[in-house]
Point group: C2
Chain length 446, copies 2
């Protein structure tokens, strides 16, 4: 490998890691939270702790244990009590906050029990209490409290039914918010009349607060009627469990109060701070790139679509930079982020980031001085132990030397084995954070 | 419609038309060609006409009639003779150059006859002749001269077979260059020892000279053996006509001279100038955008991929600009170009540009101050009379008012009817040029 390429590849990893550091759960909290002279500052908000009788900490998500630990370090014994629900093996020993571990992504009874503890604690909240709510990716499955008439199994069957219909995430949330005692602003409602401030690490494209963990502390503009219409629109209504249909019917008929809407009193003392987002990771990566001598260009933190198609577009930008120096003169670092999807047709092993890197490798074959990196910030890409992969203009030449046909690997969705054989997997181990994926194009001086 | 949006939409069309004007065949020729004091300048090349006994003009493609007319205006009676082959109804009355019309995209006997006339004329070319070769999109089907052993029907069957295999454009060209007396540098070989200069309007992503019209005047690095391997690799070898197999076999065995390779004497006096490319259109569009007060950002002229996926990525850039002002501060005009594809699953009516605009409309629903335009520079998008379509953040709201479900139109590949009902088709009529498509994102001050 040429020394230029070796340097580019090293820089690509350094830039990615700088992005990752910015959205580490502890770093994310510490970037926004300070306590000084009995005043708790969270971003631009200030809470004079003398105004509050108790501080309670609740939360759900894969990253909430380190977030809660960071809050304990800031607030120590000022925290009166707390409960968080996190994924198995994602807990940490905490002093004041009880940590419940539960199953993810398929919820289980331990998740329900943990969420009941949160609801019970919030039931005690009074006007002079401050509730700190920690939310991160995975919160939807971990903060799980079906309405009383409905069992966890019924709720899960409803979700599976929607999945089979190809419902959008918005449609999913509309339905599940209307089957829950925690989602869709219900948590804020439960905490009323206390003050509630949510610290959120976003794993959702667009960072919509009502989507992340199904928006437990923000207003819900959807209705029982919407939920019913969605299920009927997909022809799924008649396949629902009878008690689910009955609950939604009662809601539509106004016999159950709908989720709290914008303007509801429950949100008068509610605030939210996004402490970690994909854009923050891209900006930190861009700053590192600049330090290393590359002009950073942040294209978008809101990328969605089929992984191999997005990779092709990304490669088209690389080729334009190399041939006409549009949109920028190298050395340049083009950054984007979000979450792509893979339509699986083969039986290989891989993930959306590794497939992105494979498609990009094919599109930039032969190009000099270009590296493409696609990595998931949670450290796990698909059902593999890799976080993603790295490709360059010589990747295909190296594959050909090993008699590997990239088209064949792509057709079989076998990106993991492709990059494993080339030793080009990016392995980070579990990072305990998740702000989706980072896509990087690094082009050296030409 | 708000006055801001009306202005943005007007500007989007003005910017597109500025791009189009730059690649009009006549404008493209005139931008590069001048004659002064008996010196013909084509870009940086100069030809002292006193050094040449004859100027011959040949060419093939959908845009070569206006290109040839422009050359006649520059050179008048200095042109000794000429023959061009263009698509039916794409001819123009010329003075010195004979115009042959033929079928496109499926070649016919008139195309073969026209190409024979070109080859016969070049057969007479001598050392002190200057051959001006005009090439534009469509040249592959119009410059059609099967080798003697093979009929036009045999050659077409071979092409259909490759199409059914899903062969890449590179593989296609490797095979057809080895069944032709004009493609893959054979035209330059025929003109030898004359001087040959080609003026090329590119309709190919990446503007590769050996791909445009199958590279009649440039070296071909592929071999008879490669052609044979490609057909065998797809399991198509045994389905070929016996005389096609025999020809390729003889070539592989060295009994027929291969296409001329880089370094061949045939190219010693050969030169090429790209007089019109997608990038040139984007740059002219960018200049117009700047005049209208928008910061231009040229992302790539090399875009490929599924139309709706590319549109989603494009929309992600729009959303980032609106929410974080990355990569640029509005007002901004993001330009890209190339040629997307549509995987047809429905029975609707549309084209790749209209489908791009429909998918973009869905992705930017509700966004303020954004217009997306996707238009083919040839004026014809798919089997429709539209060149493309325009969408904005209010497009879906207007569709809903008419009880139109955009998801349904997209599923049925029915983008033409969608935009027809909203009066948002872009109609240019046939433009007589083709540098593929232009994708524009126009965002006003926010």
């Amino acid at each position: 490998m040429s020394s230029n390429l070796t340097k580019l590849r090293k820089h690509a990893l350094q830039i990615f890691k700088a992005g990752l550091r910015a959205v580490d759960p502890v770093a994310a909290i510490n970037q926004y939270v300070t306590v000084s002279n009995s005043v708790l500052s969270i971003g631009k908000q200030q809470f004079d702790l003398k105004d509050y009788d108790r501080i309670l900490v609740v939360g759900a998500g894969k990253a909430v244990a380190p977030m809660a630990k960071a809050m304990e370090e800031h607030l120590g014994n000022r925290i009166a009590a707390g409960v968080i629900v996190t994924k198995d093996e994602h807990g940490l020993p905490l002093k004041k906050i009880r940590v419940c571990e539960a199953s993810h992504p398929v919820p289980d009874a331990r998740g329900v029990a943990g969420t009941e503890s949160i609801l019970a604690l919030l039931e005690t909240a009074a006007e002079r209490d401050l509730i700190i709510c920690l939310i991160s990716g995975g919160g939807s499955a971990l903060l799980i409290a079906p309405v009383e008439e409905i069992s966890l199994a019924d709720k899960q069957d409803t979700t599976k039914l929607l999945l089979a219909c190809g419902a959008t995430i918005h449609e999913f949330n509309t339905v599940r918010k209307h089957l829950s005692r925690a989602k869709g602003g219900r948590l804020a409602q439960k905490a009323y009349p206390a003050t509630v401030t949510s610290l959120i690490l976003s794993d959702v494209v667009g960072d919509d607060l009502d989507v992340i963990a199904s928006g437990p502390t923000v207003p819900d503009s959807s209705t029982f009627h919407d939920a019913e219409q969605i299920l009927k629109g997909y022809g799924a209504w008649d396949q629902l469990a009878a008690n689910v249909r009955k609950h939604l019917k009662k809601g539509s008929a106004g016999q159950i109060a709908d989720t709290p809407k914008p303007g509801d009193a429950a949100f008068e003392k509610c605030s939210q701070v996004l402490v970690g987002t994909n854009l923050q990771a891209l900006q930190a990566a861009g700053q590192k790139a600049q330090k290393l001598g590359y002009h950073p260009l942040i294209l978008s933190s809101k990328v969605e679509g089929e992984a191999r198609e997005v990779a092709t577009f990304y490669a088209a930008i690389a080729k334009e930079i190399l041939s006409s120096r549009n949109p920028m003169q190298p050395p340049v670092c083009v950054l984007a982020g979000g979450e792509t999807t893979v339509t699986i047709s083969g039986e290989g092993r891989g993930g959306r980031n590794q497939e992105f890197a494979l498609a990009a490798a094919m599109a930039i074959d032969g190009a000099k001085n270009v590296v493409v990196l696609s990595v998931g910030t949670d450290g796990t890409d698909g059902p593999t132990d890799a976080a993603g992969a790295m490709a360059d203009g010589a990747t295909l030449a190296r594959a050909r030397q090993k008699n590997m046909d990239p088209k064949d690997f792509l057709r079989r969705n076998d990106s993991y084995r492709f990059f494993q054989k080339l030793d080009d997997l990016v392995m980070t181990g579990p990072t305990r954070t998740n702000v989706m994926d980072i896509y990087m194009l690094l082009i050296g001086s030409v």
